[in-house]
Symmetry: C2
């Protein structure tokens, strides 16, 4: 399992991803699920991945190789003229990789599928955020749906739905996402720290604040403990049931 969130904010795009991969609970590993590509002044792209690790690694490798030897049929991601074209390149690469595995005599009931979040900005256009499906199509955030989750999305969704606000600062978005990730990792062993984050500041056209929150990070541990108490207090602040 996996948990990744990409969020469109007024000031930019916020990304967070966990690092656990597993094939059964007795076979777990730590892999980075966030890739950041930047050409300072030109573009900055962030890709989050969920699903089959071989698929997502192949997609990333193919995208990077094409950067060196690209042609008309295989355009270079870092030369994409717009975020829409960048999303198309990533989506087509994902679809090709999934299709190649599935038709290679190894039909394993969607086992090769992966879902991606791609966000960023290319000079001349605004920051944009996409959710890319294994079928090779994709959707974009809107005012009504300003964030995407992939992987184990359910446990961490209620707090995102209630507390998301496009005016969140980086520090507030980190707080919200760490609470959402904490709820998820408490309920699903397939989601675990360290958590990678990246805040792309709008019009920066270069990597913004990014880093990794370890499981023993003092701020994260404080949030995790304090959130349990804050939730209990919030519940107690509501009136008890009474008929009529």
């Amino acid at each position: 399992m996996t948990y990744c969130v990409g969020m469109a904010l007024k000031d930019g795009l916020m990304f967070m991803s966990d690092t656990r991969t597993n094939a059964g609970v007795d076979n777990i590993s730590t892999y980075r699920k966030m890739v950041i590509w930047e050409v300072p002044g030109q573009l900055c792209l962030t890709l989050l991945s969920s699903g089959n690790l071989a698929t997502t690694q192949a997609v990333i490798s193919q995208l990077e190789e094409r950067g060196k030897a690209h042609d008309d049929r295989n355009p270079d991601l870092l030369s994409a003229p717009s975020m829409f074209q960048a999303a198309r390149i990533v989506a087509e690469t994902l679809h090709e990789v999934v299709a190649a595995h599935e038709t290679g005599g190894m039909k394993a009931d969607s086992a090769f599928h992966a879902t991606l979040i791609l966000g960023g900005q290319i000079a001349g256009g605004p920051p944009r955020l996409f959710l890319i499906y294994p079928e090779g199509n994709f959707i974009e955030t809107t005012e009504d749906s300003p964030f995407f989750q992939i992987g184990e999305t359910k446990y961490g969704k209620p707090i995102l739905v209630r507390a998301y606000d496009k005016d969140l600062s980086f520090e507030q978005a980190m707080r919200l996402l760490l609470v959402s990730f904490d709820s998820t990792m408490k309920a699903n062993l397939g989601v675990a720290p360290p958590f990678d984050y990246h805040f792309y500041a709008a019009d920066g056209l270069s990597r913004g604040r990014s880093g990794r929150i370890q499981g023993d990070d003092p701020y994260f541990n404080h949030i995790s403990e304090a959130w349990g108490q804050a939730l209990k207090d919030a519940l107690r602040s509501l009136p008890e049931y009474s008929e009529g």
Copy 2:
């Protein structure tokens, strides 16, 4: 989909169930998923059901018919000498119904499965609460796992995990469950009010406080609105992110 919760408390057993059944989002109905059997002074049992509606209705009908014409092979649920035996009777009936449908030439990938929560008390024993699987086996609550959820369990779980306390009163348990149900119905169209509830008071050996919360219930609506604000306030009460 469905959402049902059974909860073991110091003062008794608390049950709540939604009433939505659906075959696709374009085909929804309202069905009661809670059955209460009582023989005052002798026993009181509550059954919550999730899964194939034909299966759960067949299980309930068979259990009730056996009450009229039972023999050694088909013991009467209401004559069960203990809660463990009652759980066995329900589990065996469930397993038979599922197996009969699956071997009747209609193998539809677990489509006939159902999962049940059975709780109550039989004179001479304590209140007990069981989760019954379609395979016909079952587990019981313990101090570490004092409640069961069936159906769409993920959205409503974080608040249950954080705020459950065995000392909750009926009024407090209603508040907690309605928050958990509200989070679930906001995220999954397959879960919807009215919600049925039953609080079995320990050693009462008869039906306790029970009723139905409609979607326009004033208390429920107040809780639903106030919870969104309380969650935002709880999040704001935590410190914003700062490195180091």
